[in-house]
Symmetry: C3
Subunit: 155 residues, 3 copies
């Protein structure tokens, strides 16, 4: 884990602060589309939902993924694997908590499920994770600047 | 599959368009209630969440279900089956993407899960699906005019 | 079951009434945070999301849990159990239906899933439930005054 490299501010935020209603909806819509692009292996458009300098960290990576080119490459590897494996994967988030920050960013924390369905077979829940993002808004859109995913099975 | 019979417009929509916040909430509320009516086998009220001329297509049907009488009959068959089988089914949607159209309709695309729980037993995820609707608003309510469900195991 | 002790009004509500959009978002945010506090075993802050006189009923309890001290004690028991069992539990709600009442409270009905992940193992869906709350708003916050959870496997 390399969380020390992430630019998540160390300052505590008001435990009771919530996003205003419009922002909360925008962020729900943002994640719905981001997850659908990921599962459709739409590498470039998915990478475009991150900032150019985004950092994506997972406990099983040697080092965080950095920037859109590396992010898109991850999706292309997933696509190749899915074609070989004949499985359909769906990423699903919920229990979305959004905390507005003094600098205008949003810190989100949600649960993330990964469902996998083999062709002709029964689906299964492959992973239960917690996903924490720093979101920034520019030119009318939210984008992920920083993501940390932790897996319940490795906790 | 009989998707050629569905009245989904062939024209491409702006890839970045999102529903306004109020509509997005209304549609979330609409689906929550529609799914609960379906799982409660409330045939008439569930059929009433579709337009009178609605078309519902599933890959495992010989032909799409058309109109409220046929929709309600589907629910009554489900109820009879559930009584025999002693299982409780729950339909759950998520990752809801809503795209407003020039004609005032909304095109939605979301993931749909089916959970089944036998009496006295462990629940399981029976299906992972993608659900695509055309929604129309009339007299203050959203209704489904056209639905296409695809199953990940048959993809 | 002791539902006769719950203060759920017996009067029928308009079958078509829905919460206004702002309230619906607030309640989504409320539940996201409440479930995350529960799964993090944050006993006091979780109990604080209920009214001081709250009643929480489950089919497997001899009698409903009453008040914040009893609610917090439940979380501390869960924590001790989780430490022994080495499992991570996640509570996840969806298909949230919210019905405004004449007295200013909100009656909610949603589905609730419980995912359990053993350390180093595969996750599973442990429970599928229906959760019904009476929510009240005071000092700018929603709180649960009354909760009834029913399990699909015991239905």
């Amino acid at each position: 884990m390399t969380t020390e490299t992430l630019d998540r501010p160390a300052t505590a935020t008001d435990a009771d602060a919530v996003a205003d209603e419009a922002a909360y909806i925008q962020i729900q819509q943002f994640y719905a589309r981001q997850m659908q692009l990921f599962d459709a292996f739409d590498a470039e458009r998915w990478a475009g939902t991150f900032t150019p300098d985004a950092v994506f960290d997972l406990p099983t990576l040697d080092r965080p993924v950095r920037g859109r080119a590396e992010l898109a490459a991850t999706v292309r590897r997933n696509r190749a694997q899915a074609v070989r494996g004949g499985e359909q994967t769906r990423h699903w988030i919920g229990m979305l908590d959004v905390r507005p920050q003094a600098d205008g960013t949003m810190h989100t924390r949600c649960y993330a499920l990964v469902y996998v369905t083999p062709r002709g077979g029964e689906p299964r829940v492959q992973r239960v994770c917690v996903m924490e993002d720093v979101l920034v808004r520019s030119r009318g859109k939210w984008r992920t600047r920083c993501r940390l995913v932790t897996r319940d099975d490795l906790a």
